[in-house]
């Protein structure tokens, strides 16, 4: 079984596209491309994506 990469307490791992606290990378993926953001930053990004989707809808 693959070993996961793990975020530290209160943080989320991301490579800009994938987000997670514990991530099992697919074959060929590079763990070094991942970095940590805070949970607050993550929530803000989710909100931002959500608003962008709704604006695109209403537009």
């Amino acid at each position: 079984m693959r070993e996961p990469i793990k975020a530290s307490e209160g943080h989320i791992l991301t490579n800009g596209e994938i987000y997670g606290r514990k991530i099992y990378l697919a074959e060929g993926m590079d763990a070094s491309s991942f970095y940590e953001i805070t949970e607050e930053e993550y929530e803000a990004r989710v909100q931002e994506t959500e608003e962008a989707e709704q604006n695109a809808d209403n537009g």
């Binding site: 989320i12 514990k22 991530i23 697919a26 074959e27 993926m29 994506t49 959500e50 989707e53």
Partner: protein, 257 residues
């Protein structure tokens, strides 16, 4: 030819038959037997007619109401779903438009291949907890269950390799049961659904495409740990220290939140 009954025993037998039939204890004098018999029979007939009328009326009303309700149901859903041919359901069951009492589709839901066919299908639904029918997403499933915070059961989600899942399950926090059919070949994120059953987790994994690459499945770590308890079926609240995913595809990234 008429038969004349001269023996009392015949009158007594007839009287007893009448008493049995009418469930009464009325005594009949032989001298007044015939008129009393006629009155008794007439009363019985009238009573029977009244009872039959009431029974029939009550049944008729109930039948009429039931038929009326069925006709109203058929009329609405035949038109709303175009006799099963509708394929554009953009925001169709969103917000307060329907609840569990009013949402009762007659036909499976089949969204088309347009950009918006299945988009935001149950977006921010406030009152629907069960999809009740199969839903096929031929194109996009973007936002389909976004913010449907009361949705517990997605009966069946039929997807293909072109179906997209952007924000499909964002804030779907009550979701417990979901069954897939087809192939999941795009990024899919169910990490808000912390109550997913093990059967649901297995359904998701078993329908991941084995030929796609660079895609991610995101799940709730709490849901997965609970679903794969250390003592299967123990229902004692213990969670596995490390969940076990059987045959998780190597071509997929799994993210736990």
């Amino acid at each position: 030819m008429a038969i004349v009954l001269t023996d009392d025993k015949y009158y007594k037998e007839i009287a007893q038959l009448i008493r049995t039939e009418l469930k009464c204890e009325t005594k009949y004098k032989p001298s007044k037997f015939v008129p009393n018999l006629l009155v008794a029979l007439l009363d019985a007939r009238v009573a029977g007619m009244a009872e039959g009328y009431e029974e029939g009326k009550s049944y008729g009303v109930a039948l009429g109401v039931a038929n009326g309700k069925q006709e109203a149901y058929d009329t609405f859903w035949d038109n709303f779903q175009n006799y099963g041919n509708r394929n554009h359901y953009y925001y169709a069951f969103s917000y307060y438009n329907f609840d569990d009492n009013t949402y009762n589709p007659k036909y499976p839901i089949k969204t088309g291949t347009t950009n918006t066919g299945g988009q935001n299908l149950f977006y921010s639904s406030h009152g629907i907890t069960d999809t009740k029918v199969d839903i096929e997403f031929e194109g996009t499933a973007n936002g389909a269950f976004n913010s449907a915070r009361k949705m517990k059961t997605i009966k069946k989600m039929i997807v293909n390799e072109n179906t997209t899942f952007t924000n499909t399950f964002t804030y779907a926090e009550s979701l417990e049961s979901i069954t897939f059919e087809g192939k999941i070949a795009k990024d899919i994120d169910l990490h808000w659904s912390t109550k997913l059953t093990r059967a649901s987790v297995e359904s998701i994994i078993s329908h991941l495409s084995s030929t796609t690459s660079g895609k991610t499945l995101a799940l709730s770590e709490a849901a997965v740990k609970k679903a794969y308890e250390t003592s299967e079926g123990a229902n004692d609240g213990t969670t596995s220290p490390e969940w076990i995913f059987l045959d998780f595809p190597e071509n997929w990234t799994l993210s736990l939140m």
